[in-house]
Subunit: 499 residues, 2 copies
């Protein structure tokens, strides 16, 4: 038993409160074993169709109801622990409730289960047997909650919801910087499970701040897959633990992302104030602590002045909240300092209105394309309210797009006169990201079937997945084919006469 108490820092004041102890190793093991036992006990029930009535589907709806019921208290507890503000947290609450219900509706549908029925074709050369395939749950899933979206990517966020929609039992570790919110959400879960009369092993919460708890969860033999949102270092550490198991398992880690935005010449000239101001808004909102924050703004070198002026003016007037935790504030300051120290970077830090708690000075840097291409560290994410404007000859933009590692998103701003320019850039950007936005900032991600919140490394550890949107459930499913089976031994969803 490690017995470390978790601590919560008020980002506004720096006040530290001690919360619940870390879950002891024995309890972590018991929780994982329980998830594994439940998965085995429920195997036969899976063959029945899930028209929203399976235990995990019902749980998703009851969780949404309980989140609604505890809305105000939850927002108050989270605001004290995150300083994100009640308006932002209310929006995130609505999105999270919607997401839970959307996954409850999606569970058991053909879009999730992807059934394919190929009846026998003995005359084909070579002949085809009766093959029917469907997605089945991968097994118990461990989820690591993120801190920057304490609800949407938190204990009851998209990873948990999508794993439940895949009918996988979930063990979720709350974020150690938000232990009071974690305790309240644990109570919300207990109430939902009791109200729905559902086996509590479907969704279990552990608490831990040490590396040991994470290693123990990912290493447990009952666990079949992992969902994680956080830093590249944290995600890759879990990837390594998973690879060293006797039976390796997939880790879906969403990690670092610089999210480049490219501006066409006409857009830069015609909409300098809008674009500069809008970009500054994305740096300021939530203190820039968004996975999709556009950290690089690539602007035609001869049309950049207006955008840079507008961005600096807007950012200097923005009311920027403190960062989520002291460690993030330190990492941010070091990141800005590292970028500023590269010769050729002109970094402007904004006066810090309030130095208490986790407040940090926002910053905008300027640099030319040659400098960036020679100093790839400038292409790394700085998590927080900072961005870099790259003054770039239009002809060099493709080189810059190719030099950027994988990101969750890229944006282009293009006026009608920029269409040919956009046509040249989009095919390159498509190779670097999971999602492209046009004339809109990528910070808002709506939840649907077409959503992709993923991308090549280091945006994620598995380039095929998405951690937002309804196909996120695919990460926790795998296909099984039934070959030559009589109809009465097939899962219900495959008992059609065939195509």
């Amino acid at each position: 038993m490690s017995g470390t108490d978790l601590a919560s820092t008020d980002p506004r004041t720096g006040e530290v409160r001690t919360a619940q102890p870390e879950t002891p190793a024995g309890a972590v093991d018991a929780v994982c074993a329980g998830a594994g036992d439940l998965f085995q006990e429920r195997l036969s029930s899976w063959d029945a169709p899930d028209s929203g009535t399976s235990e995990p589907s019902r749980l998703l709806r009851f969780l949404a109801d309980q989140l609604d019921r505890n809305r105000d208290e939850l927002i108050a507890v989270l605001d004290r622990e995150t300083a994100l503000g009640s308006a932002r947290l209310a929006g995130e609450h609505a999105r999270t409730v919607f997401q839970l219900r959307a996954f409850a509706d999606a569970a058991g549908t053909d879009r999730v289960l992807q059934p394919i029925v190929d009846t026998a074709d003995p005359g084909r050369v070579p002949p085809r047997s009766d093959q029917r395939r469907i997605n089945v749950p991968i097994g118990p899933v461990v989820v690591f909650a993120a801190s920057n979206f304490p609800l949407a990517f938190g204990i009851l966020g998209g990873d948990t919801a999508s794993a439940l929609a895949a009918r996988c039992p979930v063990v979720v570790k709350g974020h150690p910087a938000q232990p009071f919110a974690g305790a309240l959400i644990e109570k919300i879960i207990a109430d939902a499970l009791a109200a729905a009369d559902i086996d509590p092993r479907w969704l279990q919460v552990v608490h831990g701040g040490s590396v040991d708890v994470g290693r123990r969860l990912v290493g447990h033999p009952a666990i079949a897959a992992v969902g994680f949102t956080g830093s590249t270092a944290g995600g890759m550490a879990l990837v390594r633990v998973a690879a060293e198991r006797r039976i390796p398992i997939p880790v879906y880690a969403e990690m670092g992302s610089v999210n480049p935005t490219f501006v066409g010449r006409h857009a830069a000239v015609e909409r300098a104030d809008d674009i500069g101001g809008g970009w500054a808004g994305t740096l300021a909102a939530s203190a820039g602590q968004l996975c999709t924050q556009p950290g690089l703004l690539i602007v035609p070198e001869d049309a950049a002045d207006g955008i840079v002026s507008a961005a600096r003016a807007a950012l200097s007037q923005a009311d920027i909240i403190p960062m989520l935790a002291p460690r993030l504030a330190e990492t941010f300051a070091a990141g800005v300092e590292r970028a500023a120290s590269v010769p050729g970077v002109r970094m402007q830090r904004l006066a810090q209105p309030d130095s208490s708690g986790c407040a940090v000075p926002a910053a905008i840097g300027e640099v030319d394309a040659d400098t960036v291409l020679a100093a790839p560290e400038l292409l790394e994410e700085i998590f927080g309210p900072a961005g870099l404007v790259v003054r770039c000859p239009v002809a060099r933009m493709p080189d810059l797009a190719r030099a950027i590692d994988g990101s969750l998103t890229a944006a282009i701003f293009a006026d009608p006169g920029d269409t040919e320019w956009a046509r040249g850039l989009i095919p390159i950007l498509r190779t670097r990201v999971g999602r492209l936005t046009c004339n809109t900032w990528p910070t808002g991600v709506s939840v649907g079937w077409a959503t992709v919140h993923g991308g090549p490394w280091p945006a994620t550890s598995v380039p095929h997945g998405t951690s937002v949107g309804l196909t996120a459930a695919w990460r926790f499913l795998r296909p099984v084919a039934f070959d030559g089976f009589p109809l009465d031994l097939l899962p219900a969803a495959l008992r059609t006469p065939g195509e």
Copy 2:
């Protein structure tokens, strides 16, 4: 330049012939860089629809034509190098040609590209933006050809065909034990490329027997994914190389698989001869060198005698070809010896008709369930003409099913009276495999949309994929969402008005 010459052993005689040298390191790098350059050069052309007219689709068809044209010579060269026999090789040839054409037809279809169009819904809470998603090629793919299916899983096998169908340039390493076939297939590729007037960087072959060539291919920065079929040790070595890259990439390795078969009591009694003889046939065919060979036959303990007798009788009369290579024969002998040395295993080796070349004695072991459950090494694959009959109380079959690591396939043999027994076992077996067959041996895998040739570790390194069937192309694609784009900047496949 390493300069090691590859060598080919005639499995029937042991005669060794020296073939072409290993591809030098510089040439390996140049080939990978060429694939990367081609991928970049072709990015814009991807946005046009592929109605079978893209370069890789055309190449797939020309490859099929050239394979047809060189059929007899290829079978002769392969028979000398593999001893698989011309009938088996002719069947595999037909299947491989079919597979190439099927992937040419599949490329560019909605089933491969999986487009999803969600038009904007501003009234939804939260609002939904216009999101459209489609699968895009992951980038250049390295393929490692297998030796046991020198055509279907070879240089022009399913990994290569599915990567081309995903519009990824392919670099493929021929199997080092089949260098003469490799040289002929390289010429077939050159002829197809010339006949179709297609850039040769779409499909390039390298030769190598050393670990260095494999490491170099997987480590090259231009490479985005890997397909491999072979041993668990070989596959996991490549997984590690891929994980240690600056930018890790996915490795789709199909590796070891024990493929359990469970027999119901009624089937065991009523069809003892059929089942025993059929099982022996799968051990004997191609000297048991099939990924889906059912290495474990689990039979009700009180109904096993008839099946064991039939299997031994059939196997002793079977004409068993030599194994593919001296190393495989050695590994097989060691595997049989290891299993035979476990107390409680009664191993019967068949008299060896011919000890020249790579001939090995086939073997059938008998063991009870308790012994297997206490000695998990008996659940490991023995690649070659050997199998283990497990005499198992029916009530313990679920425990045995759970104890088996991931396999490509499992089979059940069930008569009408065994239906309830089958209903209890199928949900468990479903968690262990990618494919279940009923009353049929799993060694034949037909190529279709519903095909799954994959499964949990160690059957594969990525449990979501399949290396046979048309959705094998999904492994080399990843989704990209376009958010808020005007129709004229979207890929052709997403320019629909929406659902």
